[in-house]
């Protein structure tokens, strides 16, 4: 479907002849070219643009809270294995002392269960630019990964991904929400 557009400079009555001939030429040339280009783009993109991608298949669904099925220790609030989120200060990837026990507990579990894999999902709060936050989330996840490796976890058990600010745990534009979003989630993968 070629939407052919043509342009004709209106030949208007003598009253308006003050807009003299060279103006008409310029206008006609300019407009002709850009309109042809327009209709070309329109033909092509409209067809293609209606064919979007749907990627909502099962591979994209989360694995839920798989860790809670691993054993009672993962659900016991007094056991550090029940804690699977490590929080961070603003623009920092340094693990705070409070979370060392949690990281050590998961490390011990992984050493004892070498076929178990985890993904460390780094996240950031919404402030600042999105791609920089992807980098910040990765630094946080890598900080946790290096602590686990230092404790003897095999590198092959650890996968790192950063979602930056794209997957907030809590919605909101205040510090209460932001501090819950600056985090690394320890996601146990189904064996």
């Amino acid at each position: 479907m070629k939407l052919n557009k043509t342009i004709i400079v209106l030949a208007i009555s003598a009253v308006f002849l003050s807009a003299c001939s060279d103006t008409d030429e310029t206008d006609a040339g300019l407009t002709d070219g850009s309109l042809n280009a327009n209709s070309g783009i329109n033909d092509a993109s409209t067809t293609g643009l209606n064919k979007g991608y749907g990627m909502n298949d099962s591979a994209m669904n989360g694995n839920g809270d798989y860790a809670s099925t691993l054993g009672p220790e993962f659900n016991d609030p007094n056991n550090p294995l029940s804690k699977r989120t490590i929080y961070f200060m603003l623009d920092s990837s340094e693990v705070m002392p409070d979370f060392v026990t949690v990281i050590s507990a998961h490390s011990q579990y992984l050493i004892a269960n070498p076929s178990q894999h985890i993904t460390l999902e780094g996240n950031a709060d919404e402030r600042g630019s999105r791609e920089y936050n992807i980098a910040l989330g990765e630094l946080r996840a890598k900080s946790v990964a290096s602590m686990m490796k230092a404790r003897g976890v095999s590198e092959g058990q650890l996968n790192v991904v950063s979602y930056g600010e794209e997957k907030p745990a809590v919605l909101g534009n205040n510090e209460a929400a932001w501090e819950k979003n600056r985090r690394v989630e320890v996601a146990y993968q189904p064996r």
Partner: protein, 426 residues
């Protein structure tokens, strides 16, 4: 070998032609005091399905340069030059008058003509007649707006352009999903080109407007895709371990700058799209990300925290000295060049506020243009006059546009869901 794995997408359903509902409503929140008074008299419509004069009126109104005359205040509604009485438009204090009419040429085709008059000189400035299919009438209206805008301001109009952005539905719930959409510059004709329950990010237009590069987490980790808009064909161009992000086309369209963390810290790489060769451009141990090319292709700006906080740096595209450009403010990120290369626009953070700022490359002075708390993702209009960006209020993300002098502000209100990461197409 999954690198450059080609995925073909076939046409599965028929084309829907008249999908032209608005996804966005654009409100002008601030204009300039010297706005030019102009009247767009209602065109004789010949029963056409699209109200051309209303679209032209809305285009000219939201750009901020014009003060539009309301229809009820018009002394008359001429459709032909012969019916124009300049005295009455002078008496109504109008500088310019637009008239027009449509004729039904049969077969779903219309002949559209319009004329722009200088009211005080009692003369015609522009006059065109063009054929348009019914489906194309909106585009024709935007084209008329572009012609009028250029004639009266000397700058190229951007009403015929397109914008890309990402919307989120069911934000924060388990059903959250992202759509990468393309719409006309006035928010009409929104079309989803990619959709995923996992994050989609960083849409980047190819310089010819025919392709879109973006980041998708659809395979549970980041990958960069290049999608041809016309055919829907898609190529996965980068899926290395770690970050695959921030794609930016070189001005000649042959290369993509990317952020990859496959070697450890995130660095800027250049991917040659035809040879598939990958060149590492920056090698710091800090975060280097968000590359953007200068219009001449000779250099790139990028964000780095090598000095402790994120700041903007510049590097020759062939590699070489990496120089810091920003020294004002504790946070400067996501810079990109104006089309003439004279300015950089960026996210500028001070304390808890992240705003859009423009930097003059000649003297490095920074001018903050916006007043939000969380403004991000600035993108220049192709004519360099406006900057589109993402903003937030009350937890809702929306798009705004600001003129490069900060004097004209527009708010683009999205009808449902959150909208972010706008990118103005070429």
């Amino acid at each position: 070998m999954s690198f450059f794995n080609k995925v073909l997408f076939l046409v599965a359903f028929s084309l829907s032609v008249t999908n032209s509902h608005a996804a966005l409503t654009i409100e002008i929140s601030e204009g300039i005091s010297s706005a030019l008074p102009i009247a767009v008299a209602p065109f004789a419509s010949a029963g056409a399905p699209v109200n051309i004069s209303a679209i032209v009126n809305a285009d000219l109104e939201r750009c901020g340069y014009f003060k539009m005359m309301a229809e009820p205040a018009m002394p008359s509604k001429p459709n032909t030059a012969a019916a124009v009485n300049f005295n009455e438009w002078q008496a109504a204090s109008q500088n310019y008058l637009v008239i027009g009419q449509l004729a039904d040429s049969g077969g779903g085709q219309y002949n559209v003509q319009f004329q722009l008059f200088d009211v005080y000189k009692s003369g015609q400035l522009l006059g065109y007649r063009m054929n348009s299919s019914a489906a194309d009438l909106r585009k024709t209206a935007h084209h008329i707006s572009d012609l009028i805008f250029e004639k009266l301001t000397g700058k190229k109009g951007v009403f015929s352009g397109r914008i890309a952005y990402i919307t989120t539905t069911n934000l924060g719930s388990k059903k959250q999903s992202q759509q990468l959409q393309i719409a006309d510059a006035d928010g009409f004709n929104p079309q989803t080109i990619a959709s995923s329950v996992e994050p989609l990010m960083s849409p980047s237009w190819s310089p010819d407007g025919k392709k879109m590069a973006y980041v998708s987490f659809e395979r549970k980790s980041a990958a960069v895709y290049v999608q041809t808009l016309a055919t829907g064909e898609r190529v996965r161009v980068a899926e290395f371990p770690g970050i695959n992000g921030a794609p930016a086309w070189s001005p000649d369209g042959t290369r993509l700058a990317l952020t990859l963390s496959k070697d450890g810290s995130p660095d800027i790489f250049i991917l040659n799209l035809s040879t598939r060769s990958l060149t590492k451009l920056t090698k710091s141990f800090a975060i280097d990300t968000e590359p953007s090319w200068s219009p001449d292709g000779n250099s790139l700006v990028f964000t780095s925290d090598r000095g402790g906080k994120p700041q903007i740096y510049i590097v020759p595209s062939q590699g070489g000295d990496e120089k810091r450009l920003t020294f004002s403010g504790s946070y400067n990120a996501r810079a990109s060049f104006s089309p003439d290369g004279k300015n950089l626009v960026m996210v500028h953070g001070n304390g808890n506020d992240y705003r859009i700022a423009i930097m003059d490359m000649s003297n490095k002075s920074i001018n903050v243009l916006t007043s939000g708390h969380s403004d991000e993702s600035p993108s220049f209009a192709p004519n360099g006059s406006m900057i589109l960006y993402a903003s937030q209020k009350g937890g809702t993300g929306f798009l705004s546009a600001v003129s490069i002098d900060g004097k004209i502000q527009q708010k683009l209100v999205f009808n449902s869901g959150e909208v972010r990461e706008p990118s103005w197409g070429p």
